[in-house]
């Protein structure tokens, strides 16, 4: 019988090194899987990890990297605060959609006015949309002790329905010949989120993500609020002893994660996506949960995890088009990454013992 025994104090080296070990193990196990599928494993791994950064078409894919990583990082940072405190917002996808809808609606209502203040107002409206959507599970939890996991998750599907209604109804482009979808923000300069430096993929959302990384880092390391968030997650009774009001923390953490998801949605709809469409959301809100854990709920870790996750998405798409790898294999590959990370985390904190239940 194997059993796990908690290490008295985990090695500082392995705490830092385990994500790298996980990536290497994923490459090995993924390579074996690709080989079993009859593909050249070295080529497949190279296509996923190397080509998007340094390959022939890297000039295009490098930009895509930031475009994809931006919203992932922004959302994951918000989620990580709640996760640290034991508050499980699973519905970032819905908050992302609502931020996009509310922000876009404000911009579209002002069309075609040109004013410098329009975009900042839209940004605030986007954050508000995500915040308000997250307040529903937060208030239900604090008032009626409902489970925030279920409520926030189910609200994703409500948000998707509202999105469909927006794309086909109240936000539909009046000049769109009846096709679903709103006006495209790329033809409305006051409300658009253009690429700031050509070819880099850098847009205001990416800038916001970088700022959020720094803000979250300072919050967790230097501010009493960050300390209380960590304390509430690690030792809830000690947190109450320290004067933390659990309900206030729920409202705060849900609010921050909702607002950041809403911001991500607003930046996406006004930038890379360009317009409100029925299938505007592509799962950033769910993938961000993986990013948050991959980055071990640490702001800097999330920055790298977001970039890595974006890379596997872009590289994975390349591999499936260039090498004909099934997309399920790519998903399995991404799953392996999370699996190996969690496994090496467990082994960092616990050691495996052969149980000696001998009868002497």
């Amino acid at each position: 019988m194997l059993r796990l025994e908690k290490r008295p104090s985990p090695s500082a080296f392995w705490q830092k090194a385990s994500p790298f070990l996980a990536v290497i193990l994923t490459m090995i196990a993924g390579g074996i899987m690709f080989a079993a599928l009859g593909k050249n494993p070295v080529e497949a791994i190279r296509t996923i990890f190397w080509d998007p950064l340094f390959g022939e078409f890297a000039f295009y894919f490098r930009g895509q990297l930031l475009v994809k990583a931006g919203p992932l990082i922004l959302i994951a940072l918000g989620l990580s605060l709640g996760f640290r405190a034991g508050i499980w917002n699973i519905g970032a996808e819905g908050q992302y959609i609502m931020g996009a809808i509310i922000g876009a609606a404000v911009g579209l209502a002002l069309y075609p006015t040109e004013n410098r203040m329009i975009y900042p107002v839209m940004v605030i409206a986007g954050a508000f949309g995500g915040w308000a959507w997250a307040m529903i599970p937060a208030i239900l939890k604090t008032r009626f002790n409902t489970n925030e996991i279920l409520v926030s998750l189910l609200l994703v599907y409500v948000a998707q329905t509202i999105l469909a209604k927006a794309a086909t109804g109240f936000l539909r482009n009046p000049e769109g010949a009846g096709f679903p979808g709103s006006r495209n923000f790329s033809s409305y300069p006051a409300a658009s989120n253009p690429e700031l430096i050509a070819g880099t993929g850098m847009h205001w959302g990416v800038v916001a993500a970088f700022i959020a990384v720094i803000a979250a880092y300072v919050l967790l390391q230097r501010h009493i609020l960050g300390f209380h968030i960590k304390l509430a997650g690690q030792a809830p009774r000690a947190a109450r002893f320290a004067g933390v009001a659990p309900n206030r923390l729920v409202v705060l953490c849900m609010g921050i994660s909702g607002a950041l998801a809403g911001l991500a949605g607003l930046f996406e709809v006004t930038g890379p996506a360009g317009q409100i469409t029925i299938d505007f959301n592509v799962g950033y809100g769910f993938t961000a949960i993986i990013v948050a854990f991959l980055g071990r709920l640490n702001p800097v870790g999330i920055l790298f995890a977001g970039l890595l996750m974006a890379l596997t998405y872009i590289g994975g798409e390349m591999a499936s088009t260039n090498l004909g790898l099934p997309s399920a294999a790519i998903q399995a590959f991404q799953g392996m990454l999370l699996f190996f990370l969690l496994a090496s985390d467990v082994l960092t904190n616990f050691r495996v013992r052969l149980s000696t239940k001998a009868v002497a």
């Binding site: 008295p8 104090s9 230097r222 501010h223 009493i224 609020l225 300390f227 960590k230 304390l231 690690q234 030792a235 009774r237 000690a238 109450r240 002893f241 320290a242 004067g243 009001a245 000696t356 239940k357 001998a358 009868v359 002497a360």
Partner: protein, 508 residues
Amino acid sequence: MTGKLLLSVEGVTKAYPGVVANSDVSFQISEGEVHALLGENGAGKSTLVKMIYGLVKPDSGRMVLRGQAYAPGKPGQARALGVAMVFQHFSLFEALNVAENVALGMENPPPMKALAGRIKAVSEEYGLPLDPARMVGDLSAGERQRVEIVRCLLQDPKLLIMDEPTSVLTPQEVEILFKTLRQLASEGTAILYISHKLEEIRSLCDEATILRRGKVVATCTPRERTAREMAELMVGAVLTPPARAGKAKGEVALEVTGLSVASPIPFGTSLKNVGFTVRKGEVLGIAGVAGNGQDELLLALSGELKAAPEAVRIDGVAMGGKGPNDRRRAGLVAAPEERLGHAAAPDMSLVENALLSGVVRKGLTKRGFIDWAATETFAAGIVKDFDVRTPGTHVAARALSGGNLQKFVVGRELSQTPTVIVINQPTWGVDAAAAAAIRQAILDRAAGGAAVVVISQDLDELLEIADNFAALNGGRLTPTRPVQGLTVDEIGLMMGGTHGMEVAHHGH
């Protein structure tokens, strides 16, 4: 009246990573003997009995039970050979009744009706009346212990191990228990009795084996020794009781009136109309058997449980409706009983744990931003002033031994120049030297003008440091009385006497 040799333990050794729990331990126990295992916390008593009960396997050495080599691989085997154990912490399900709980602990339980009958018969025979149909959640601590004892007696044990059985009993209940144990011994059952309460051992036990740091340091016949002699054998040093300075009492610093709060703990005890006052420079000791509202009282005083605004007054200001940090600002600090998880966050460093409750009174933040340098100084100061043995302040709280963490937690609160101090179980699970240091520190703060409330289940401790005495019983607090002139009998009655448990011994 001891008979022939029952169990002999020969040179048993057990090491855990970093600590030798038992080193070459030998002792013998005969049929009908009440044998005490005496030692401080961490002396290795628990490890030793766990080996006898089959929970832990010794690294070396051997045991002989009734002439046969004895090496139980699991408690089931030990029970089959007639070894039974009553643990300090009960393993009972509160939502099940007595008979169901007993059945859960048996290998092949008989039908419920037959079992209920046997429980009644056995419990009455040994003077421990129990109603098999009652819900365990409704029983007092003493009655729960009866359930555990009866569960053992049903197996007709040859050796009964009791781990600190009196820590949950009033003095009157202790007397009932002792009568039962003497009756068992007179019938030939051997009893291995673990405790650090010396007077009990002197009145009950025939022989004693004294452990210190995993080794047998002495054996003696308790009746022929004084408690002090045994204590010094146990600690290995000469003990000095804490010094109390004569002090003038100041004005009332903490006033509690009509404090009633519902317990947030399932099967907890709600506080009912609790009232007392503590003056500056005074120590109020609150006794009570575990589970009579001690945890709730601490929560209600620390601010974790809110009450009516007028129910708690600190320096005359109504604070009953305020949370912990407002009360800290008003001068009240509190140290809960549970060190890990309540008073301290296990995985956080001592620095972070110093911040946890020290942030308000020590001014460790500026506009919400933490001054880590000042926090570290604060933590280092606690470590130094209270002699906390730790490699440094960046060690996680859970890496400290219980006694050292307790010194840190109590030190953290006492270092905040409080006007009111509330401590639940200040020396629980702490070795004698550390306990003496903590008590002295509490008395020093009282001498410095703080009002102190000590909630404890250790009567000796309360009588040693308290000026006034009250007891919690079913969530109600008795009127406060001066410690001087109180007798043990009176204290027992204040704690609830026998908690309505029948005394069924008819003079042995």
